[in-house]
């Protein structure tokens, strides 16, 4: 057991998979010699060479398009969008082809690829380097959207994503890349895509989050536990789409209260989807309105003000208290 951060965990997983499965290939901007701008692919180029670790031209549309062809040919490409803010250039390949190849070819062709991308705010970055747009991808049937929250689940989820037979968008919360370390075991632990994880069992309130917000959520919960002695159930979504609806519904039926913490802007996000789900399947169990703590519907502010706009521990605590007292 060693304590490592999320970048190291992802990197370790990539090394393991490249070693054990020669169909896996890495491609993206600056992923080779430079090891990726966040160093997630560090050391792979030196070890596996330029044929399996490709420093691609700057062409996001073709990074995915070429990867689709590689995947159909039998490879398992793991491609990188340097930042999620530049992934929109690949959208037509995602919506028009990656997501539908299985359907269109009636199962003849499948596209087992992973698109990794750092996303999210709070790191004092330039414009286009801070958004959370998981919903763009989640709104595409045929694509899975996965977001780890810790060093230990990042490696396991990445492994599951690479082994999945369908296209997976793997969004890495870059604020959590190096912010904390964890023991990551070497045994054959597994996480399956499509399952949320209950981090804490309780029956007063269901608190749901994912990605970098998980950390702040857990801190807020810890504070409130000390201050009020309440007993929350905390869910880490892990897979945004397809969503683990059963875990959410069962939890809310039990607690009757729910708060969702979403880094993305408020309208039309996963939180809206969760509220609709609760409305469909657990409405009669509710003892309070479901609250969400989110960003506002403005273009992501430049870093001078970003923390004012993002969900914070204080905002989460207020929302939880309000929901408990409603």
């Amino acid at each position: 057991m060693t304590k490592i951060n999320m970048v190291q965990s992802l990197n370790r997983t990539l090394h393991q998979i490249m070693e054990s499965d020669e169909k896996v290939l890495i491609m993206g901007e600056d992923v080779g010699l430079n090891g990726g701008v966040f160093r997630v692919t560090e050391g792979l180029f030196e070890k596996y060479g330029r044929k399996r670790v490709i420093d691609s031209p700057i062409a996001e549309s073709s990074i995915l398009g070429v990867a689709i062809g590689m995947a159909i040919s039998g490879l398992k490409p793991v491609v990188e969008m340097q930042f999620s803010g530049f992934s929109y250039l690949m959208m037509h390949q995602l919506e028009g082809n990656a997501s539908r190849m299985r359907t269109r070819s009636r199962g003849q062709f499948t596209v087992p690829l992973v698109v990794r991308m750092p996303y999210g705010g709070g790191i004092r970055a330039l414009e286009h380097h801070s958004e959370s747009k998981e919903v763009y991808f989640a709104h595409t049937a045929g694509v899975k959207v996965v977001i780890p929250s810790s060093p230990s689940n990042a490696g396991l989820l990445l492994k599951a994503a690479i082994n999945d037979p369908d296209p997976v968008i793997f969004m890495e919360p870059k604020r959590s890349y190096r912010s904390f370390k964890e023991n990551v075991s070497d045994d054959n632990e597994k996480i399956t895509l499509g399952s949320a994880q209950i981090l804490k069992r309780g029956d007063d309130i269901t608190i749901i989050s994912w990605g970098a917000m998980m950390r702040d959520t857990l801190k807020a919960v810890q504070d409130l536990e000390e201050e009020t002695g309440f007993n929350p159930e905390v869910i880490d979504l892990l897979t945004i789409s397809p969503m683990d609806t059963r875990t959410i519904v069962e939890s809310v039926k039990k607690t009757g209260r729910c708060v969702i913490i979403q880094e993305a802007q408020k309208s039309f996000g996963p939180a809206s989807e969760i509220i609709a789900l609760i409305n469909d399947q657990a409405l009669m169990y509710l003892e309070a309105t479901v609250k969400r703590v989110t960003m506002y519907d403005v273009p992501f502010p430049l870093f001078g003000r970003e923390l004012l706009y993002m969900p914070s521990i204080e905002k989460i605590k207020r929302a939880v208290l309000e929901t408990l007292n409603e």
């Binding site: 031209p57 530049f86 970055a125 403005v298 870093f303 004012l308």
Partner: protein, 363 residues
């Protein structure tokens, strides 16, 4: 049947002022004394501002920044070749060119300190803001140029700058093709500084030059010494003249070098060696321009000293102003989302301000 050659192409390289300061009098463009001195002024300013901003960044007073040192001839001499009534679009690596278009150091400091207030404030409102999404500004330039013409402006053109890495994007190819088809009065200027981030030019394209990409789109293409102010100026001026005369778009590859890091988040020692950087120091655009001006009796050591002192003082004062208290409102990011924000957004603004009040009360 024998194969017939049906088209033949070639690409030229232009240099007018070489590394030693020698000039080719045949090609030397007709630049007034004022223009030459203005150019030198802004190139020097750009170099000094670049290094000051990098310093401020290192001290934690600014966020991530691109570095522009070494490319002054490309972005300043090209801007000198257009008029204020022409359109200018670029990426983020044309500091001095933007200053020439009337952006101010104060704005840049605000911007790189993470405040929307600095993101747009040009004296000349025919300048588009910084574009980080690579190559996305190229189609805009086509539309600007075409749009102004259609609305009756007889000689407006657009100049657009971008890097070598950006030529791999679909937007680059689509814009060149589009411009050719529309015969739009656009000048595409690629600052080939040899690297994207870590990726060298030769991994972006198998083409021997960027300039030759023009051929496929049926427009003129030329490679010029991008550290030579005269070659950059002349090639852009020629292209602008063609555009003004309804002869359509052109592509210019300014062959230059990024002397420093890609941005402050980058460590160039991972992918290139110091000797290469040293070799390019010999080709410095400011150094040879100074020799040129000195030979023309337009410049001397005293003038140099005076200029540096004057610019340093201006920069110092601006930095001081930047560091003094400002009156930026916390809810400014709501200001320019829509002309008519509607109730949802207005409610969110209220909610934001209320939240903020609660937080300050708790403190």
């Amino acid at each position: 049947m024998p194969l017939n050659i049906i088209e033949k192409f070639s690409i030229s390289y232009m240099q007018i002022l070489d590394e030693k300061g020698n000039v080719d009098p045949e090609l030397e463009p007709d630049l007034s004394r004022d223009d030459l001195l203005k150019l030198y002024h802004y190139m020097t300013l750009s170099r000094m501002v670049d290094s000051r901003m990098l310093n401020l960044q290192r001290q934690g007073r600014l966020g991530t920044l691109p570095a522009c040192t070494g490319q002054e001839a490309s972005f300043c001499a090209s801007v000198l070749a257009i008029k204020n009534t022409d359109w200018f679009a670029g990426s983020y690596r044309e500091l001095g060119g933007r200053l020439m278009r009337g952006d101010s150091l104060l704005n840049l400091l605000y911007l790189y300190n993470g405040f929307e207030e600095g993101s747009y404030n040009y004296e000349n409102n025919r300048t588009l803001p910084i574009s980080i999404i690579l190559a996305s500004q190229l189609p805009h330039a086509v539309g600007l140029a075409y749009g102004s013409r259609l609305q009756g402006e007889k000689d407006t053109v657009a100049l657009v700058l971008f890097g070598d890495g950006s030529t791999s994007e679909g937007d680059f190819h689509e814009a060149l093709n589009f411009a050719g088809v529309l015969n739009a009065p656009v000048v595409f200027l690629c600052q080939n500084n040899q690297y994207a981030i870590s990726t060298p030019r030769k991994l972006q394209t198998k083409s021997a030059t960027i300039a030759q990409k023009a051929i496929a789109y049926g427009i003129p293409g030329i490679q010029v010494d991008g550290n030579d102010v005269l070659a950059v100026y002349k090639s852009v001026k020629d292209a602008v003249t063609r555009a003004r005369n309804n002869e359509g778009p052109s592509l210019i590859e300014a062959f230059t070098y990024r002397m420093l890091m890609h941005t402050t988040a980058d460590d160039p020692t991972r992918y290139r060696d110091d000797q290469e950087v040293e070799r390019w120091k010999e080709k410095d655009p400011l150094k040879r321009f100074k020799i040129f001006l000195t030979n023309k009796k337009l410049w001397d050591d005293k003038k140099q000293l005076d200029l540096e002192n004057e610019l340093k003082q201006t920069i110092d004062e601006t930095v001081k102003q930047f560091e003094s208290k400002n009156d930026f409102k916390p809810d400014a990011p709501f200001d320019y989302v829509f002309e008519h924000p509607g109730s949802t957004l207005e409610e969110q603004r209220m909610d934001f301000l209320e939240n903020l009040k609660k937080e300050t009360e708790n403190d």
